[in-house]
Amino acid sequence: MKKPRLVMIGNGMAGVRTLEELIKLAPDLYDITVFGAEPHPNYNRILLSPVLAGEQTLEEIILNDWAWYTDNHVTLHAGCKVTHVDRARRLVHAENAAGDKMVAEYDRLLMATGSHPFILPVAGNDLPGVLAYRDIADTQAMIDAAAKFRHAVVIGGGLLGLEAANGLMKRGMSVTVVHVSPTLLERQLDATAGRLLQKSLEERGLKFLIGAQTQALVAGPDGRVAKVVFKDGTEVPADLVVMAVGIRPNTELAEGMRLHVNRGIVVSDTMQTVTDGRIYAVGECAAHRGIAYGLVAPLFEQGKVVANHLAEFGIGRYQGSLTSTKLKVTGIDLFSAGNFQGGQETEEIVLSDPFAGVYKKLVIQDDKLVGACLYGDTVDGSWYFKLLREGRSVADIRERLMFGESNIGDTGHEGNTKAAAMADTDEVCGCNGVTKGAICKAIKDKGLFTLEEVRKHTKASASCGSCTGLVEQLIMFTAGGDYSASPRLKPLCGCTEHGHQAVRDAIREHHLLSVPAVMRFMDWTTPDGCPSCRPALNYYLLSTWPKEAVDDPQSRFINERSHANIQKDGSYSVIPRMWGGETNASELRRIADVVDKYAIPTVKVTGGQRIDLLGVKKEDLIGVWQDLGMPCGHAYAKALRTVKTCVGSEWCRMGTQDSTQMGKDLERAMWRMYAPHKVKFAVSGCPRNCAESGIKDVGVIGVDSGWEIYVGGNGGIKTEVAQFLVKLKTAEEVLEHTGAFMQLYREEGWYLERTVHYIHRVGLDHVRQRVVDDADGRRALWERLQFALDGEPDPWFEFDQARVDTRQFQPVAEVEAAKTAVATPVV
């Protein structure tokens, strides 16, 4: 059977990325033909600025070389312009520079025509030496001009114009930027930041004519442009004029085809043109819900949707993106997103330190962050962008908001916070040993644009995530990727387009009781999910419908299936529970005997005041548990792990409260409690806080008049100090409040979200309102937790109730080495 034919018009980044995605999904579905007007394979247009500045070469910015097209059986007509398309006969007519005509038939057509630079309608705009800044030819012409001529004028002080001006200056030209608005980058920066930027660029040697209106471009005796004349009669010399006053979607061909065009080729959420379902449009030429995007990340998202449709999966939908901006001029940091100008309805928080060159403005409306403009210090840009996207209330963190939440963890990268200042040999990711040089090389060689891609290819930031902020900066510097433009809603995983909240809501509203039921109901795209979604679904089911939903061990990570913690050699570690961290001679004797009997190589005291037996063989686990005769410590699970305590008033001369007893009571009340992530408590008997309550999910500190409760602390990747929730009088109140907070987190938290991140998302005010202010609600939460935990089994002893498949502890068979032997199935 003959394959259907797919023709793509345009050979740029969005289009070719779409083909890459399609070939990944359905390698042999189509005969693919590509027409590209430029005589080049697909290259990274964003990196033309570093090429112009002499920081990279043209070869380095090629994304798909000629061989890629051949290897993937894509017929490429480079340097071949499509003249018209006959929609009735489904024919594409094209012509190359030599005037040779060709025709291609299509079954599906993909419009990826990109955009055109806007040329000012002034006299002389067609003179030699007058250029736009859009493609390789323009860039090469600018490089050639810089070698011969002295004076350059860039018209337009937007992102592209400033990058062009910077590049030409680095190539030795004297550059004047002409900008009609009062401040630079007025679409990306407010006036103050715009002026700071101008000052900084002036210090580097750029000249500015602000508010100047271009009247005409005048030729010299050789016919080449020689000067720019303004409306007020002044003029500047110019051997080269670069027009960078904006781009507009390239829709001439589409209009000729009678496709509906309005600020771009109008497409639906499936990226099909509204006029003709056979025709898709992707990239800068497409107008989705009235917006034509110009940044790579949204365009690549669009590409995924198109590929999905062309591959006949028919499941993807594009729902628009929020975007943020950064400027690619080495050494200048700026970031903006959302409504950073503010207005009558908004409030502003501003930090201004002109001497240090730092300016930050946050725009708030109805207790929500709606815009941010940062200059000089942009390390918190992605955090602000996240707050903006999520639209959560910032009322409770308002006083700290300006100081950021540096999205860089505390450890693992030598305290670096600025990727640009690091050497190539410096380690960025301390978990996986990935250096800055290795990340930059992978970004360049493999054409990576997003954090996800860099994680996949290099493993940097893929483990603990502490270095995510640094990796994002590297992507910015190296690929010029606008990494932070991201979908409004983050899907739970690649198997679905639904986010965590939608899944939780559906399970509750529709009383879903099993993993397959959720997948069916919510149109999962994979038959049995993946290691990301299955554990999340299993947790949501169990926490929403306790005693009803049935645990699915196969949807749990191995540690929660074998009830021990897997080690790098395939052995396990065993940590028995010791209530409140207290033990006795009998337990210690049994532990010692177990260590001898099973030849356990390492015994270690943990940070949570428990004893860890490391290197237990899987076959020995049941025997070890039996011989220990101590309850399961859940030190392997997303569950309550330990309650750390100090000795408290029983012994300590400083102690004001019996913290050990309080800790034991909390642990006995809440052990076996599964949660979105691991949970740790601590109880200290006085404010000296020897149990380190300040970095626990719930920290209790005894004072003479009662107990203080702190929540959302974390001693991990990024040290987070717990926040004060409430002061209480009695131990009973401590139990009830702690339990209610835990149940709220269990019911509302997203899987793998620690309490600190849960509180960041919903706000401490919400927690306070539900747990402290609403007494009835609190009691109901506490009762629901007790109901869920009542009769829960100890997985080390009650195998059937805990659904522990004990077959896993033995091999299914042992086979002899000799060829003729018959296997002995082990029962």
């Binding site: 483990s463 897997i566 299914v812 086979v815």
Partner: protein, 128 residues
């Protein structure tokens, strides 16, 4: 001509799960069961850092290694791109609900790979 060794019944392997077959020489062979009751066999060792694949989460025709979440194809043992590496696979026959492995492969295939070493033995350099 293959000589098939009876290993177990298909139902001895949990759906979307795995069991391991111990060999006198060489590491275990992991046998996996998909949701559609297909059975696959791989050397029970991730090509990345030697993780025990039989302990991973099975989904589709893949298993996620429990150590670092590499995804390994059950039908060919290959790591999913962009990761690189491959673990040896073993022929499987399923007949009337019984799972058989090739006796010759069990006895001779992939006998050399070892598990990563963990524990205190790391701290001491053996005297020469």
């Amino acid at each position: 001509m293959n000589e098939w060794t009876a290993i177990c019944r298909v139902q001895d392997i949990p759906p979307l799960g795995a069991r391991r077959v111990a060999r006198q020489r060489g590491l275990d062979v992991a046998i996996f069961r998909t949701s559609g009751d297909e059975v696959f066999a791989l050397l029970d060792r991730c090509p990345h850092k030697g993780g025990v694949l039989s302990q991973g989460i099975v989904f589709g025709r893949q298993v996620a290694c429990p150590l670092h979440n590499w995804t390994i194809g059950l039908d060919n043992g290959a790591a999913r791109e962009p990761d690189e590496g491959c673990t040896p696979s073993f022929a499987v026959r399923v007949d009337a609900g019984m799972v058989y492995l090739d006796a010759d492969e069990l006895a001779t295939r992939a006998l050399e790979p070892t598990r990563p070493v963990a524990g205190p033995c790391h701290r001491h350099v053996a005297p020469t």
